[in-house]
Every structure is written in C-alpha cells, then in structure tokens.
C-alpha cells in the first residue's frame, strides 16, 4: 500500500492536514472511524475509508454527527480505538451525547477531531469549538502544522486512554485544507479484538450521581494538566526576557513566526506556542509569563486562550501586572480568520514599529485598477445543476399561486437558494433540518390569520440527517406545508459522499438503500416524484400540492448532481444557440436566458449581441432549451 497508509516509517509525504490526522489515527491503530461529512473535516474519513481494507478498519458515513460519535464510542467501550470527525456545526448535533459520554467515560482510545472554519469559508458560522472542551472538562489539542496534525492525532489516543475518556483534536480550515511535509511513523499490527465487558460497571451517569462522575472527571483533568507540562507540542523560541511575548496556538503560530521574521523582531519578541490548550500547562505558561511584561495572544475567532491566560494571571496578581494584547484590546479581531498581516499589524502597533507591505503608490494603484477592472465573482449553482431548475419551478409556482408562499431551507448546495442563482427563493436558512422545523411551525399559524402557503426544501442527505424528526413533528401536529426533497443522489456540497439513500457505503461496499419515497409514504404522506429537469411538470405538480391542505405533503425533485454524472458519462446534449433564431437585444426578452435563468454555461456575446453557449462550461443538460421564449436554443442528442 502506498500513499497515506504506506508502511514506510521515516519517509516523507506531502499531506493535507486532514490526511495527516487520518494517518495519525492509523499509526495509533484505530479500528473504527465514523463521521457525517462537513467541510473542512470531510477528507479525514474519506482518507481512512480508502485504506479500510488494508488496515482492517470499519469506516462509516453515519446519518449524523451524534450517531457517528455513538458508533465511535461503541468501539471504544469494546476495546477498539476509534476516531470520530466532524465540522463545528456538527459538534452541536453530537453535544447531547458528548455531554454525558464525558461523565460515563470510555475505554479504548477515543478521539474527536473537530474542524472549525474561521472566516466561515465553507460554513454558515465560524463557531469556536474549543469552548466545548472547557465546558465538558475534556483535553484539547491544537495542531499548527500537518506534521503536528499527524503526531497529535496519534498522541491523542494515548491521552484518551490515560483518563479513559474522549480527547478532542481541534483543527481549522488552514490546517485541515493545507498541505505540508509529513514524516511518517510506524504502523502497528492490524489485528484487533472487540469485546464488551458486561461485568464492569455500566457506562452511565446515574446511580452514584452525575456530580460524583463530574468530580472524578475533574481529577482526571488534573492529571492531563500535569502531562501537558512536558508535552512535545508546547515550545518557546525567542530571547530569555522578551520585550513582547506572543502566546499562540493552531494556525496562529505560522503567522506569528512570519510576522516576527518580516519585522526582523527576533531579538525582542518571543513566541510561546501551545499545542495543549486545555487544560493549560500552567507551570510552563507561568514560567514564560514571568519573563515579560507584555503579552500578545494570537489565536483565531474566540479569545479562548486569552481568557484562560487571564484567569491564570488573575491568580498571580497583584505581584505581576501584565499588559495583555489580543482580542479584548482590539489588536487581533475576534472574528474572521487570521493572516500574517494581521499579526504584523498588531506587533507594529504594540512595539511602535513601522511597516508597509508595498510602497503606497503601488498599493493605491493596485486597489484602483482592481476596483475599476475586476468584476465580483460569487458562488453559484454549477452548469446543469438540478437545483437551479427546481428553484426555477418553485419561483414559477409561487408566482402562479400568488399568495406570497414562504419557502424555508437549510444547509447544502441548495442553501444558495437564498442567492441570485436560486432566484432568492429561500427565506430562512440555519441548521440541518431547520427548514422543515420552521415550516412545521409556520404551518400552525393559521389561527393567527396566517394564510400564506408554506414550503420547505432539503437535500437527500439532509433528509436523513435531521429532516425526518421535523417532518414527523409536522405530521403529528397536522401542520400545513409542502416538503420538497432535492434528491441529487449524494452529499454534493461536501464531495459526493454516500448516505442511506445510496447503494454503497463509505468503504465502497454495497449497502441497502432506504427509499425516500417509500419512507414518506410509510408515514402516511402524499408523495409526488418529479424530474428536476422537467420545469413544466415540476411546476404543475408543485402547484397541485400547494393547493392541497391540512397536513405535510412531499415532492421529491430527483436528478443526479451534474458533477457526479459528468464523472461517469458524457453530456446528454450538444447545446447551441441558433444564430438565426436568437433575436438578441432586439428580442423583448431582455436577455432572459442569461440575465434571469443564470446558468454559467450561457453567456452574452457582446459582439454579436446574442446569447451564446460557453462550450467550456456547458454541461449539456439541455434545460435552457425550455427557457428561451424564442425557442432559439437547440439541443442535439450526443450519440
């Protein structure tokens, strides 16, 4: 086996942070890995799934993060090391279980890798998961490099077994989705034996009382604090008595080093990098704090480390009055992601230095040219995306219906339904499954004069993850709404992972398919299926469903994601604009196909003043043929 699972100690590889976490778990000898996909965490499980056969692993895409955590815990209870991975939003889903698991404890090494997304590059929020480690009294590790991601992931299992409890490994986008050099360690033997010891005391927190378990957990945390004093992931570089001490963790470390190098401030600034950020190695931290008067805390999002350091400092007051710089002082923003330049700016302000990345004339010119010349570019539905056609049908339906219908939604590619290429149709978007929950509530407001039709959209993967309970809620409460399931055959947003509606599991083995249609029918609902590319048919079916009343109804708008299909087969059609038929700017349509339908495969040719197909982009779905009022777009079947 080559690649990530290569048994080649001391060789180096270029690895993505998430691959490095997976490698660390392999080196720790895990047997089970489970997750629900979510960027920036998805590649951890994808990587492990690829080596499942060779490394004797069981790897699954679970239905949601809570179940994933439960699946991993089951392995730990039964003497098998396990990894669970999720993004920050997923942690909230798993939290109900986690906040009891920490008290019941586990057995074999159990690591939760949670990948945060400072700046919300691919998320609906930038929640800082580290607060959960403190809240649950669990050890927290924060890698700064791909190498550390690998080494810490492995070490986390030892730490977990030291206290028979979960260890949290917190990564961020710039670690998870960066690639760096990793030197491999050894892989252990692949034999594992699972056995649940029924003679031991139960994994539960009742009986002796949860407070007792909590007390025991806090004692374990003291042990971790001691271990962290000599952990290999905490280090200091700089003068003995720095004028300014930067205390940093995670992605902040590289930015701090770079800032100091660029400012040539190595003689006056020291950097204390902490990899074990909860519980803090207090003696080590105090030792360094006592060497300086000025401290700058460099970390992303919430002032977590900063707050914990200030707690320490409060215990040392009044003998040692430090000046703290960081998020509270305004030197480092408490939102968005960090950059080297943010740290450079903070250090120059604190030390009274001057720095300009470029001379001001160049800077001004570059801003002026880019502002004047470069058009904005935001995310949009891909060419051939079945969501575009479904939202087009929804928009038409709501116009025809004329009662100001409200469409709610949630997370997935179709979240772009709130934006331009989804024709601004989606009016609420929060958590997985929230669309249906909110619809269930809206559909009960008729007693207050609410007379607008209610619709909600969810994806096929979201349906299994969190929509089902909300739908059942709507049935039992006799709420009045239409659930539109956008079934594009996979978890598209995060990289096309399978879910219970797909005939294959994470490891590529055949798996039984849960039929969404039958499932809804089994709940006693009226279920209508439509082809997402059939705009007219979908509009008619939806209009009929909208006019029914009294309980939830389901429309399954089905068509495989154009990107998944394109990996497998050729385009359906060769599409072109018939030049003689397109009247161009003379047509009353005012560039309807380009301006209103908004498929990136359709562009406006300024020279000919007509619509044109961009053959480098067009996916060949042929749907726009039905949109042009002049029937000027032509599709020919590709043999």
């Amino acid at each position: 086996m080559s690649g990530i699972a290569a048994n080649a100690p001391q060789t180096t590889q270029l690895m993505m942070g998430n691959e490095a976490i997976a490698r660390g778990a392999l080196e720790a000898g895990i047997g089970v890995a489970a997750a629900y996909p979510g960027n920036p965490s998805s590649e951890i499980i994808e990587t492990l799934a690829k080596s499942a056969k060779e490394r004797n692993l069981y790897v699954e895409w679970s239905i949601n993060e809570k179940v994933a955590m439960e699946v991993a815990a089951a392995a730990s209870f039964s003497n098998v090391r396990a990894l669970c991975a999720m993004k920050q939003n997923g942690l909230n889903v798993a939290l109900d279980f986690l906040s009891n698991l920490n008290l019941s404890g586990a057995k074999s090494g159990l690591v939760l890798a949670v990948c945060d997304d400072p700046g919300a590059i691919s998320s609906t929020n930038e929640q800082d998961s580290r607060l959960v480690a403190k809240m649950l009294d669990l050890p927290l590790l924060e890698p700064s490099t791909a190498q550390e991601a690998k080494d810490m992931a492995k070490w986390a299992f030892t730490l977990s077994e030291e206290i028979a409890n979960i260890c949290i490994l917190r990564s961020v986008t710039r670690i998870s989705h960066a690639r760096g050099k990793v030197t491999l360690g050894e892989l252990p033997a692949i034999e594992k034996t699972a056995r649940f010891d029924v003679t031991r005391k139960p994994y539960a927190t009742v009986g002796e009382g949860a407070a007792k378990f909590h007390q025991a957990l806090l004692q374990k945390l003291d042990r971790i604090r001691e271990i962290n004093e000599t952990a290999p992931f905490n280090n200091y570089a700089g003068p003995e008595k720095p004028e300014l001490l930067i205390i940093t963790c995670g992605s902040g470390w590289f930015y701090s080093i770079e800032a100091i190098r660029i400012l040539s401030a190595e003689k006056s600034v020291g950097i204390l990098k902490l990899g074990t950020t909860w519980p803090l190695p207090e003696k080590l931290v105090r030792r360094h704090m006592l060497q300086t008067r000025r401290i700058l805390v460099v970390e992303e999002v919430t002032p977590f480390l900063e707050g914990n350091l200030k707690e320490l400092a409060a215990d040392m007051a009044p003998a040692h009055p430090w000046i703290f710089h960081g998020k509270v002082s305004g030197h480092i923003p408490p939102f968005g992601e960090l950059t080297p330049d943010i740290v450079i700016k903070a250090v120059t302000q604190i030390l009274g230095l001057t720095y300009a990345s470029r001379d001001s004339a160049y800077h001004q010119k570059s801003q002026e040219i880019v502002h004047r010349t470069v058009p904005p570019r935001g995310p949009q539905f891909c060419a051939g995306c079945p969501h575009r056609t479904t939202f087009w049908a929804i928009k038409n339906t709501l116009l025809l219906d004329g009662r100001e219908g409200v469409l709610t939604g949630d997370i997935g590619c179709y979240g772009m339904g709130i934006m331009s290429t989804g024709f601004f149709q989606v009016k609420t978007m929060h958590a997985m499954g929230s669309g249906a929950g909110i619809a269930s509530g809206l559909g009960k407001l008729n007693g207050f004069g609410f007379d607008q039709p209610v619709l909600t959209v969810c994806g096929d993967s979201t349906f299994f993850h969190a929509t089902i309970p909300a739908l059942i809620n709507g049935i039992h409460s006799q709420s009045n709404f239409v659930l539109i399931i956008l079934d594009n055959s996979g978890t598209a947003m995060t990289g096309f992972q399978p879910h219970p509606g797909i005939e294959m599991n994470a490891m590529g083995d055949p798996a039984p398919v849960l039929d969404i249609e039958k499932l809804c029918e089994g709940l006693g609902l009226n279920v209508v299926v439509t082809d997402a590319y059939d705009i007219k048919g979908t509009t008619e079916k939806l209009l009929d469903l909208l006019r029914e009343d009294g309980k939830p109804r389901v429309l399954i708008s089905r068509r495989e994601c154009a990107l998944i299909r394109a990996k497998r087969e050729k385009a359906l059609y060769k599409v072109r604009v018939a030049e003689e038929a397109c009247i161009g700017e003379g047509c009353g349509c005012d560039r309807y196909c380009v301006r209103v339908f908004r498929c990136p495969g359709l562009i406006w040719d300024r020279e000919s003043r007509r619509a044109k197909i961009d053959e480098a982009i067009c996916s060949g779905c042929g749907v726009c043929v039905d949109v042009c009022p002049q029937a000027a777009i032509v599709r020919e079947v590709i043999e």
Binding site: T12, R174, A178, S251, S366, P379, Q380, F381, C382, M416
Partner: protein
C-alpha cells in the same frame, strides 16, 4: 533560489472552482518536496465547485516551513487560470517583483451575465497587469485544451506554461516525471500532451514576454 535571490518562492495559483486548480497545486507541491524543498500549500475551497474564485498558495523554501497564507505583496508568481482572476490576485498579493502567467480565456462571473458588471477587454486586463508586475506571459490555454478534446485540460496546459517559463527553480523534466506518476495509464497521454503544449507555447514566446520595462529597471 528565487530570481530575486532571496530564499523561497510564493506561487499563487488562481482560477474558478472546477478548473482543476488543486490538482496542479498538488503536482507542484510533490515536485517541490521531491527536490528537497519545504513546501506548504494553502487552499481555499468549500464552495469551490460552485463557481467562486479559488486560490492555492504554494509556498516554497529551501530553509524553512512556512504558513498557508502568503503575506500581502508577497506573490513572486501568479499562475492564473482565468484572466480577471490573475489581476484580482495582484490587488492583495502583487508587487513590482511579481510575474504573471495567465490564461486569456474569460469565464464570465454571474454579475457580468446578468448585466450588473462588465467583463473588461483583454487589453484592459493586460494593461492592468503590466502596471502591477515585472513581467507577464499570456496564452489561450483553454483553446489549446479544447483542441485536445477536453477543456478540463486547461490546468495542465497552464502547469506546462509555469514549467516552461523558467521561473521555477527546477526544469520541466522534473514536472514531467511527477505527471507520469500522478495519472493512471488511460489519463496520462492527454494530460502529458497538454502539459508539453503549455511548455512549448511559453517557450515559443521566447524571452520576450509582456515586460514592464519601467518596473524592471
């Protein structure tokens, strides 16, 4: 090391989601690591398959490991898979020392399609780039890729252009070795062809790219 003599090269590969930006950043990373350099690649994606701007920061050094984000004004080379994206990168990361190697084939953002913004003429883009860089090479990589039967090969043509530019500290033969290792047998021939065409297209422009003589002094 870098043409300016300092340690390290910051290469930013920019384009649109779905253009295969990440694949070529990875090939460059593997090549660089194989040549005994430190390399860190920072990638921005997530919504990347949905048509937004995508950039990979490839940070190369002989002596030290660096972070995943290039500091402002720190780009030595911008490899642009789409022309306005090349120019966009210069706003934050460009300096008078930057070299641009850019595809000339536009991909219109939605704002242009719906008439809320204009897509500039190629000459306007080139003038902007000339004002903000030390030198620039241009090629219609998409046209070359379409000529090979697959517009998706645009990224490999651009990788060839980078290798052929002589701006990297190792030659195109090292890239070629890595490409041979990176693709399955069925996919290798076409990808290699695209790469070689990229190399030769840039070489044929000789040592006379679009140079800003004022800046070079």
């Amino acid at each position: 090391m870098s043409p300016e003599g300092r340690d390290g090269i910051n290469l930013i590969i920019t384009g649109i989601g779905g253009q295969g930006n990440i694949l070529i950043s990875r090939i460059i990373g593997e090549v660089t690591l194989g040549q005994g350099y430190w390399v860190t690649i920072g990638e921005t994606y997530g919504a990347s398959q949905r048509g937004g701007s995508v950039a990979s920061h490839v940070r190369i050094s002989k002596t030290t490991e660096q972070g995943p984000i290039t500091p402002e004004g720190g780009a030595d080379i911008v490899l642009g898979l789409e022309p306005v994206e090349s120019l966009r990168m210069l706003g934050l990361y460009g300096s008078p020392k930057t070299t641009v190697i850019s595809n000339t084939r536009p991909i219109h953002p939605m704002a242009v399609a719906i008439g809320e913004a204009d897509y500039p003429d190629l000459d306007v883009i080139k003038n902007g780039i000339r004002d903000l860089t030390r030198q620039a090479w241009y090629l219609d990589a998409t046209e070359i890729a379409i000529g090979l039967g697959a517009p998706l090969l645009t990224n490999m043509v651009m990788l060839g252009a980078l290798a052929g530019s002589g701006r990297m500290p190792f030659g195109d033969e090292v890239f070629e070795r890595q490409i041979r290792a990176a693709f399955t047998k069925e996919k290798l021939a076409l990808n290699l062809k695209a790469f070689v065409l990229g190399v030769s297209t840039i070489r044929n422009q000789g040592s006379n790219p679009d140079v800003n003589v004022n800046k070079r002094a």
